[in-house]
């Protein structure tokens, strides 16, 4: 049974009275400026966008369905694959949601390390945005600079998790293991030089007249539209809506950190560029505070039936071996209930809705990802603008197709 209602967009009538002048063209799904596989159906009048219709789903892998067949702890590696540019935020959001269901709290040191790593992950995500956005606009050089620093961050991720991109480092109840001994020094070395690197990017772009002309006044989004269309994160704050979950609804110990939330009231692509550049500097401040105040202690919660024991204990203590065996083969039961946990990820508000029926497998996992909602605002931002501006706007809202399609 095929259930399709509504008119497929390509067969839809063009705007009334303009059938001879308007043209429908296809952009993507194989297009370098769509950052993945996004297909846009555009109705254009000459070079002017009349309507724009995003067609998504090319990367749909049914991750939500897969989650229902896994134990709770086996879902963590799936979350990395959804937004591969900001992996640790996904891990964090899922772990916080399940911890809320369990009534379990990660130890203090795990919370601080989580904040530190999530901020590194945010820098990682913003660096990719900056490099690819500038490259779309024609400033090819910046990409080489931002990927130089991204490489440093990926090395830090590798040091701590053993993986460069698919980190899966956070566990329900803490972290998978202690970070290596020199890890904090390496982060400190990175943070010491990184603000100069931000200046370097700004030098290449802020004074660049081509870059400025392509972004200023392009893709305007009003604060009311940002809220109505579900836009979150830097694009929302660049439209003048002052809300950041890290500051306003703190999670994972964010209430202990001092940072500013950059806001702009201009609402165009340039404002989004400026907001993200300031966010990079604020992330550096948060990481510095995390390094200075890093508490001592364990990185795993004391919950032997939920958190896997250390390897050494597992090999020497009978009880630990039993717990290890039980967790790996049978998982752990989570009390029935439903929770929604939202966090501020690099692209905007990520949320995990986890429903438990009291068994060891989640009954339902739903992910709210910012790009999915932000994409709905694309038409509003592009209508009446030139075709070439679509590329600038897509770059400026920083979407990841992996998290749209899931």
């Amino acid at each position: 049974m095929t259930e399709t209602i509504g008119t497929p967009i390509l067969e839809a009538p063009l705007a009334e009275g303009a059938k001879d002048q308007h043209m429908v063209i296809n952009m993507g799904p194989q297009h370098p400026a769509t950052h993945g596989v996004l297909r846009l159906v555009l109705e254009i009048d000459g070079e002017i966008i009349v309507r724009l219709y995003p067609e998504v789903g090319y990367l749909h892998t049914g991750i939500e369905k897969t989650c229902e067949a896994k134990f709770y702890q086996q879902v963590v590696p799936l979350t990395d694959r959804i937004n591969y540019l900001d992996p640790l935020s996904n891990n964090l959001c899922y772990c916080l949601a399940v911890e809320k269901l369990l009534g379990l709290e990660a130890p203090e040191k795990a919370k601080w390390l989580r904040v530190l790593l999530v901020e590194l992950s945010r820098i990682n995500s913003h660096l990719i945005w900056l490099g690819t956005h500038a490259m779309d606009i024609g400033a090819l050089t910046v990409f080489l600079y931002t990927f130089r620093e991204r490489e440093d961050i990926l090395r830090l991720f590798e040091a701590v998790a053993g993986q460069r991109m698919m980190t899966s480092y956070f566990r329900i109840g803490g972290l998978s293991m202690e970070p290596p001994l020199d890890f904090l020094d390496r982060v400190q070395a990175f943070i010491r030089t990184f603000p100069e690197k931000i200046d370097e990017y700004a030098n290449l772009l802020t004074g660049n007249p081509i870059f400025a002309n392509r972004l200023k006044g392009v893709g305007y989004l009003s604060p009311a539209d940002a809220i109505a269309l579900g836009v979150t994160g830097p694009p929302m704050r660049a439209s003048g809506v002052d809300f950041d979950l890290r500051r306003d609804m703190p999670y994972s110990g964010y209430e202990k950190f001092q940072f500013n939330v950059p806001i702009s009231t201009v609402g165009d692509c340039w404002a989004r560029y400026e907001v993200r550049l300031v966010e990079l500097r604020e992330s550096v401040k948060i990481i510095q505070q995390a390094l200075d105040g890093m508490p001592e202690g364990p990185v795993k919660a004391d919950a032997p039936k939920i958190v896997l024991p250390d390897r050494e204990k597992m090999k020497t203590q009978m009880e630990a071996l039993i717990h290890h065996f039980k967790i790996v083969t049978e998982g752990f039961e989570v009390p029935a209930g439903e929770v929604y946990q939202g966090i501020e990820a690099g692209h905007g508000q990520t949320g995990y809705y986890v429903v438990s029926d009291g068994t060891a497998k989640p009954y339902r996992v739903h992910m709210r990802y910012p790009s999915f909602a932000t994409l709905q605002a694309l038409e509003t931002m592009c209508q009446g603008r030139m075709l070439a501006d679509v590329v600038a706007v897509i770059g400026s809202i920083d979407i990841v197709l992996g998290e749209i399609d899931r």
Binding site: I5, G57, E68, G103, A228, D248, G337, E338, H366
Partner: protein
């Protein structure tokens, strides 16, 4: 994380948190439409009669819950009513989430679309239509969003096998 105790049932929640802005708004609008309520793990869930969801959404929106954050469904197969829709609404002013919950029967599952209240619900309702087969009356463009247009079945239903039909 200090967790407050669970408060279950409409009467108990109304008694425990009479000043809550969302509860006040729903009661002032139509107290009969609120069929159940629960406060669990610091999250407030208000169950709304399914034919009233659009008006309920408008009522909480007017009360300051200005941001539609997320909407999805849960399939409670084989119990009845089979589907649960969960709307997560955020208030920038109160810095708080609420969950509106709607129960939908298996036979001809259909509820009113809230896209007129929050246009951002558009893609979310399409997703639920695609993956659960629940229709949203008044939706401007209710087409499949993830699966191909000619796909058969609704993958997130519990009677749809994880590995698909072979």
């Amino acid at each position: 994380m200090t967790q407050s105790p669970t408060i279950a049932g409409k009467a108990a929640v109304l008694e425990a948190m009479p000043g809550h802005p969302a509860i006040k708004a729903v009661l002032a609008w139509n107290s009969g439409a609120l069929t159940d309520a629960k406060f669990d793990r610091n999250e407030l869930t208000l169950t709304i009669a399914s034919e009233q969801i659009r008006a309920a959404a408008a009522a909480v929106q007017a009360a300051g819950y200005n941001f539609f954050e997320d909407m999805t469904a849960v399939d409670w197969f084989p119990s009845a009513p089979r589907f649960q829709l969960s709307y997560h609404i955020l208030s920038h002013a109160f810095k708080e989430h609420i969950r509106l919950r709607v129960l939908v029967d298996e036979a001809n599952p259909s509820v009113a679309s809230i896209t007129r209240v929050w246009p951002s619900a558009n893609y979310y309702e399409r997703e639920v239509f695609d993956l659960f087969g629940i229709r949203f009356e008044g939706h401007p463009n209710l087409r499949r969003i993830m699966m191909p247009d000619d796909w058969v079945g609704h993958p997130l239903r519990k009677d749809y096998p994880v590995e698909g039909y072979r």
